[in-house]
Amino acid sequence: MVEKTITVVNPSGIHARPATMLTEFAKSYAGMVEVIKGEKIGNLKSILMILTMGLKRGTEITLRVTGENEQEFLDSLVRFILDMED
């Protein structure tokens, strides 16, 4: 299991369209992909779960990846989120 904490930086945050893309990206990985905000932990492969978490701009989130080549996927996930546009 590997983790990294980042801040959501795109101006509109992870609303429906970015969340759809993020879910698809997470589904491309066979292992477990989770997002943690405060005490709440969500499966990043579930768009409804992402949308319940209110990931606005400036929100600090921890990404947790468990599975094969987990560090490599975590790095690409971090890049994906930081590069996300509105």
């Binding site: 509109s12 945050g13 609303h15 429906a16 369209r17 969340a19 759809t20 579930s46 768009i47 409804l48 779960m49 949308l51 319940t52 978490m53 209110g54 606005k56």
Partner: protein
């Protein structure tokens, strides 16, 4: 949330639509009726789908038409629910982009938009609620569901 939508007359049923544009216009109907939005908002949603694709179908059988925060035609935050018996094809030929459950979201600020999405997705994560809405075919069945689940 269902209770609130029922109290505000924001739950409607339709058999089918000729196309997704007509579906969006009708889904906006109850929000237009109570003054939350104007017809311009429906057209703004349609333009948004034409520009970005049918991403508003966020998962199987579920669409959340909306567009930018504070878009033209939005007067106040609001949600409506429309159930269509025949799935609306937001990308004709692609069943993954078809939906019978349609929640239209309107917001005049970012917090309002996130609040709408959080409340809606909380409700829909409840599998019993989601299944109940998929099976509902009239207002009475939605009222029963709302009462039974306390939602």
């Amino acid at each position: 949330m269902l209770k609130e939508l029922l109290e505000k007359n924001r739950v409607e049923f339709y058999d089918s639509f000729d196309n997704w544009q007509d579906a969006i216009r009708s889904c906006c109907h109850s929000l237009i009726a109570d003054g939350s939005i104007t017809e311009k908002y429906a057209e703004a949603i349609i333009d948004n789908v034409l520009e970005y694709g049918p991403y508003i179908v966020i998962t199987d059988d579920l669409a959340i038409p909306h567009t930018k925060v504070n878009a033209q035609g939005v007067r106040s935050n609001g949600i409506s629910f429309t159930k269509v018996a025949k799935p609306v094809e937001f990308e004709p030929g692609n069943p993954k982009k078809s939906a019978r459950l349609i929640f239209t979201l309107a917001a005049n600020d970012m917090d309002g938009h996130y609040d709408n999405m959080e409340r809606l997705s909380e409700m829909l994560l409840n599998e019993e609620a989601l299944r109940g809405l998929q099976e509902a075919d009239d207002l009475a069945s939605v009222k029963l569901l709302s009462k039974r689940l306390g939602i």
